[in-house]
Assembly symmetry: C2
Homo-oligomer: 397 residues x 2
């Protein structure tokens, strides 16, 4: 069993704050400070250009990718880091469309994160296929796996409600119809057990600044199933995805394997912080984290529901159908969340009415939950949110 | 006049090393260590998710972009940071192709950095236009500005030879023919005076890990001329280029202005290091840097040519026709560069026979040049490079 007191001790958590927003930005792993200083001083500072070889910078995207592969049930050599999640969505979709020239439709759902839909819109417009994106309700996806669908592109866990798709079932159903699948693991990686290999997934993408605690704007990852790697055409064909980047040929030839999904020069400093953050996972297992996360979330739901009947649970109760976040609907959710933040419980708000809380045992324990419930009840029952200062909207993140 | 002893004091330079490779990776500005620690501890650590507003993370790409704009003659509000240079090339080219639907050809030259050509190949292949890239010799570009050319895409300064295109003349000639221009400033920004506004440039892109000293894999930038911003279609239409990212609409609507070229979540840690590095430019001017850089390069050329007749200058002598690097051709350039590095002079090698040295007065002075010349002469005249250990090729960067 994981020693979660030990994982908690690895994070810097501001005193007096109960941080239930690791689903938006994970907290700072303390040792990431030292790692960053070491990479900046001993590698960039002292090795300078030779760091690309001597410090192993050139292979960092694949090396860190393999550490993430272990957390999402991906085969070694099937995940590589770089860019942002939006760029990785573009890469995966462009590759998937290339595999399905005889079909037209990209199927997604209205619970997908908007940036994924935006990237699809941009790509399809570039291809003169602006009408080929079909967005249905999350619960209707299975019924829309029709013969005209080329690609099924979904985010496994809904960023608003925490509703979790059945990845294995939908992947199988899609593939039975000849549809290529892309799974966005933004709210899955580090939050729930994912088994890409067992699901026979085609492509997956994800970010690392949420449950993987890589820091604000940390690099994204992309997974390509080993069976597709040799034939995947990189639409974003940058030099570090070239078979021989330092031959400086004028013509692109894709690297063998997952490296072809690399594009430009890797972000070494950001990768250093992320790689440090991943050390936390050497102390636990995804199964332990998932089980403890569900227990914390259940405790929070029970506590809040027993005291705050103005809040309506938006997250499915069934463990198999939710991620590790819990969302409540409340008409004045924006103001209520501002008040909670002011009282030391940090969650976030998603329009139009979602109050969102994330639960990870890596740095949250039962006493945090009990204190959070007490504060939520105090704020909600006392209508402490109902003052002008909490209604004033700044830029929301 | 700039106090270059003061700028030099801002950098960490390993003792015993003469670093003439800032054109590949700039050295560490010492205060970037403190800035990074402060952003990690005080912002990420203590502010957590609220850092997006409280620490100004959300606006960092435009804020840092404006600091770079000043160095490349760009209008305020016309440069934004993010992604890698390869991705920015893709964005600019996709936008430029959108503006020229009646034309076919993307014209570039064989002196362009290969990744730019690769990205063009990938984009054009996606569009079913794989044959539309035309690559000519650098000196033949002006003669190929024909009526079928949609976009002229060039790197101003050749990464191998340091040969500099006449940006103003080529831009004017291209525009006179109805051709949209894209300039890659990889070896220009921070190295030579660039005046995008005066050149009436359409699009420009660049990286920040070379002469801008932002660190390994530092974020790239893109420039869009103010006259094009409102009509530029972002092919990489990510949520942070949306008019209202936090409305979470299902449909993309491009932000007004340069922000539409943003894609995903900005790399805050990497931007912190870069922004610190840009402080150095508050102590100097681009004109001072350029003048001093040319003087250093001339001193190096004169010294090397007077003592090493086996080295052939590949860089134009005319100041107006070169950047701030100096390259020599030598049949055994790879081994010779390894020997030089072993003797404390750090340049780099570019296939097939180019020995490349970069000159910036920000951290290089005349005594460095004289010592570098002494070592080059010692290594070349003594044929110290001609031992098996220097011929053995590792991965070259």
């Amino acid at each position: 069993m994981t020693d979660f007191a030990a994982t908690r001790a690895m994070f810097h958590l501001p005193p007096g704050m109960i941080y239930l927003d690791g689903n938006s930005l994970g907290p700072l792993p303390k040792h990431a400070l030292d790692r960053m200083a070491q990479v900046m001083q001993d590698e960039w500072g002292d090795m300078l250009i030779t760091g690309w070889n001597r410090a192993g910078w050139m292979d960092a995207p694949a090396r860190t990718g393999d550490r993430i592969a272990r957390l999402i049930g991906a085969e070694p050599g099937s995940v590589v880091m770089g860019d942002t999640l939006s760029i990785k969505v573009f890469q995966a979709l462009a590759a998937a469309l290339d595999m399905t020239p005889d079909r037209r439709i990209v199927l997604s759902d209205s619970g997908n994160f908007p940036s994924d839909l935006y990237m699809a819109q941009g790509l399809l417009a570039s291809l003169g296929r602006a009408d080929d994106l079909r967005v249905v309700a999350p619960e209707a996806v299975a019924d829309h796996l029709t013969d005209d669908v080329a690609v099924l592109m979904l985010t496994e866990i809904d960023y608003r409600t925490g509703r979790k798709h059945d990845m294995a079932a939908l992947t199988a159903a899609a593939q039975a119809k000849g549809i290529v699948t892309i799974w966005d693991l933004a709210h899955s990686a580090g939050a729930v057990d994912v088994d890409l290999a067992a699901c026979n997934a085609d492509f997956a993408v994800g970010c690392t600044y949420k449950y993987l605690n890589g820091g604000p704007g940390a690099p994204a990852f992309i997974y390509v199933a080993p069976r597709h790697q040799a034939t995947t055409r990189p639409a974003l064909s940058g030099w570090l995805g070239h078979e021989a980047p330092f031959a400086f040929d004028l013509d692109y030839r894709a690297a063998p394997g997952i490296d072809r999904m690399r594009v430009g020069t890797p972000p070494i400093l950001a990768l250093a912080a992320l790689d440090a953050a991943l050390d936390v996972w050497d102390m636990t297992t995804m199964a332990d984290v998932r089980a403890a996360s569900l227990a914390l979330a259940d405790r929070f739901i029970a506590g809040v529901e027993s005291q705050c009947d103005m809040l309506t649970l938006a997250t499915p109760r069934d463990h198999a159908k939710r991620g590790s976040q819990v969302s409540f609907r409340f008409e004045h959710g924006y103001a209520a969340m501002q008040a909670l933040i002011d009282h030391g419980v940090i969650g976030d708000f998603r329009a139009p009415d979602i109050m969102r809380f994330g639960f990870t045992p890596l740095f949250i324990d039962e006493s945090d939950i009990d204190e959070a419930v007490r504060i939520v009840a105090e704020v909600m029952r006392g209508a402490l949110w109902d003052t002008p200062k909490y209604h004033k909207r700044g830029k929301v993140t």
